[in-house]
């Protein structure tokens, strides 16, 4: 490279590579320094195109810096600081390494100027974030991680196929807005890859499955990066794609319905990610300047308040070991500060005036009304009543008030978490309120210059009426909302149970056929034939089966020993292998 240009992602990757060798007494300082450096680097970027690297017959573009990539780069690195601070006391270095590579992957995708670069970083995000699930160490985490990986690899294949078809048709790898008025196979394949990561139903079930199972601080990272990088990719690649409007509205309502049924607070929050990302997806589909601004603003605000909510519920999980409403309740005496911060997150996501959601969500709804898609506006407002109902009311009420379902052990362990977790939540809370009160901070960063003023009397009155009368409904219908110790079946049923159904169908007819043949054999009674068959059978038993069984047996033994390795060391080995591969790739590209 002729002019040396430091990619913010590179700072995260180098930091991740160095972290294991940093002496323990310097580690906490180093951990805070690296994401801050990345944040400072994002702040210092000038608009333009940097890091162009010829590769085969294409040019890879690592650094396209404009208003759109900057607002996402800004919030991602800011969240990396908060998330790292929150998990500062976690001893296992691998978790931080995985989280940082994940952040780097997201930054790489955001600043990518061509589809190939985008794709590489896109996959890196899935490969690194899966460790944040596996490090939880439960039996369920292992399988949840594999499901997560499998689903994302499928999405990756769709994206790659779309990129190939697109290249074949246009001979261009540039990651720019596709022609959505003449959407073709390539557009839909690429959009499928994007909307899978944005968790648009029916491609959404991976999200609650994974985020409910990840480590307490892993979920804080995951809730920010995957879906919002996908929102960025949608804004960049397919703004104005009509189908995204109904999909986004369905998403917003779908998450709300499942949140009613959910008993696990982190899975409830996960369903509300789907709901909130629905607003952004609908905004991208509307495609007007106001709607795109709204999608960006809402992604920005969402990362902070959803991170805050996951930090609050993560604190409860971290301190008590419980995340189910049926095992919690009445904790305000034990965890008052966690309650206050979670409530601020809840008021922000519900778009209360003076909190961040108020200045961002309404932009998308206004864009819907202004575009004369009135049904979009009304249904999104319906979903926002549901948002307050759950995140603003149900989560705080059933954890910190309500019936005390805590076991004596849970109650004894419950307390506000350590200073770093409190500090991270305090910073996120302060930002949520700051964004809500001082709108130019966020609005100045938006890609289009469209005047928008959320603070006017009709809008405030409308919002307060919806929210406060939702609260009235909540308290009147409280009995109906009592948590139940159940899980809810979602689309993931098809790949978690569908295999069993397939096996059953396959087995039954095969068995029936086998029995039929056996019966025929007996009825026809070909005794003579059976005599000669017996000698053949003996040969078969002694020689062939012996060889086959022996072979199979040794395979099984190998498999078992591998499985043992897998439960313990293999994940960490894989982690190291991925880290080294990623580092080599980065060094190769940036330094040559």
């Amino acid at each position: 490279m002729t002019n040396f240009w430091i990619h913010p992602a590179l700072i995260m990757f180098v930091g991740a590579a160095l972290l294991p060798v940093v002496p323990e007494r310097l580690r906490k300082g180093f951990m805070l320094l690296v994401p801050m450096l990345a944040f400072a680097r994002v702040m210092s970027l000038d608009h333009g195109v940097y890091g162009e690297v010829p590769f085969a017959k294409w040019t890879l573009i690592f650094g396209r810096v404009d208003k759109l990539s900057q607002i996402f780069g800004y919030i991602m690195t800011l969240m990396a600081i908060i998330g790292t601070l929150y998990g500062l006391h976690v001893k296992r270095v691998g978790e931080h390494v995985a989280a940082w590579i994940y952040v780097g992957g997201s930054l790489g995708a955001i600043y990518a100027g061509d589809f190939l670069t985008l794709f590489v970083f896109w996959e890196l995000m899935a490969l690194s974030s899966v460790f944040l699930i596996w490090f939880r160490g439960r039996k369920e985490s292992l399988s949840a991680g594999y499901r997560y990986l499998l689903v994302h690899m499928t999405g990756g294949v769709a994206l790659l196929a779309g990129i190939m078809v697109h290249y074949h048709a246009t001979h261009s790898m540039a990651f720019v807005a596709l022609d959505v008025t003449h959407a073709n196979l390539a557009t839909y394949l690429i959009a499928t890859g994007f909307i899978l990561n944005a968790a648009v139903p029916p491609l959404h079930a991976w999200l609650p499955d994974a985020y409910g199972e990840a480590t307490f601080n892993g979920s804080v990272f995951m809730c920010a990066f995957t879906t919002k990088t996908a929102v960025y990719a949608l804004i960049r690649g397919v703004p104005g794609l009509e189908i995204l409007v109904p999909l986004g509205v369905i998403m917003a309502l779908y998450g709300v319905v499942y949140a009613v049924l959910e008993n696990d607070c982190r899975r409830l929050l996960a369903y509300h990610i789907i709901s909130q990302v629905g607003y952004m997806v609908a905004g991208v589909g509307l495609g007007t300047e106001l709607a795109i601004n709204g999608a960006c603003a809402h992604a920005f605000a969402h990362i902070l308040y959803k991170g805050l909510l996951f930090m609050g519920c993560g604190s409860v999980l971290h301190m008590t070991g419980e995340s189910k409403f049926t095992e919690l309740g009445g904790l305000y005496k034990k965890m008052p500060w966690t309650f206050v911060f979670t409530l601020i997150g809840g008021l922000s996501i519900s778009a209360f005036p003076l909190f961040s959601g108020f200045v961002s969500k309404s932009m998308i709804i206004s864009a819907g009304f202004a575009d004369h898609k009135f049904w979009v506006g009304f249904l999104l407002l319906l979903a926002s009543a549901g948002t307050f109902l759950h995140t603003g009311l149900k989560v705080p009420y059933f954890i910190w008030f309500g019936k005390n379902n805590c076991k004596p052990k849970t109650w004894a362990k419950a307390a506000d978490p350590g200073w770093n977790m409190i500090a991270a939540m305090a910073i996120a809370s302060a930002l949520c309120i700051f964004i809500g009160c001082y709108t130019p901070y966020l609005y100045r960063m938006l890609p289009y210059n469209v005047p928008y003023h959320p603070y006017n009397l009709p809008h405030i009155s409308e919002t307060l009426q919806i929210l406060l009368f939702t609260a009235l409904g909540f308290f009147l219908l409280l009995k109906k909302l009592r948590p139940e110790a159940v899980i809810s079946l979602d689309i993931d049923w098809f790949y978690r149970k569908g295999g069993d159904v397939f096996l059953w169908i396959a087995r039954k007819p095969v068995q029936a056929f086998d029995a039929f043949v056996g019966e025929l054999y007996r009825l026809v009674g070909l005794k003579g034939l059976m005599g000669s068959a017996r000698s053949v059978g003996e040969f078969d038993n002694a020689v062939i089966d012996g060889a086959v069984d022996g072979f199979a047996g040794s395979f099984r033994r190998l498999g078992a020993s591998l499985r043992k390795a897998q439960r313990g060391a293999l994940q960490e080995n894989l982690m190291v292998a991925f880290a080294i591969a990623a580092l080599l790739l980065v060094v190769l590209i940036f330094v040559f």
Binding site: V256, L261, S366, L381, I466, F469, V486
Partner: protein, 103 residues
């Protein structure tokens, strides 16, 4: 802990707190009626454009722009609908025992 003391203070006077909340709701609705009495017609760019839009949703939009306390009713009905319909949906076999996936 100040926060705990504050919460306990409010919990000890729960009846008063609830009464204050009802008064606030009533004031909110009353304020919207005042708005309607003073300026019953909407104003603004998107509202003016919406006057010519047709269809049931557009009609609902125009109604929402003028009718007093529309959003209070909307919020309450939305909340009740979401709870009742979701629970109904959940009890049609979507909600199941916690160890469902473990066998």
């Amino acid at each position: 802990m100040n926060i705990v003391r504050l919460i306990d203070f409010l919990r000890d006077r729960l009846k008063t707190v609830v009464r204050v909340c009802y008064v606030l709701l009533a004031l909110l609705v009353a304020a919207d009626f005042v708005r309607w009495a003073i300026a019953p017609t909407p104003h603004g760019a998107s509202e003016a454009a919406a006057e010519h839009a047709t269809g049931a949703w557009a009609a609902l939009y125009r109604f929402s722009e003028t009718a007093p306390a529309f959003w209070s009713v909307f919020g309450f009905v939305a909340c009740a609908l979401i709870i009742i319909l979701s629970k109904w949906f959940g009890h049609r076999g979507i909600m199941t025992r916690e160890d469902y996936y473990n066998d």
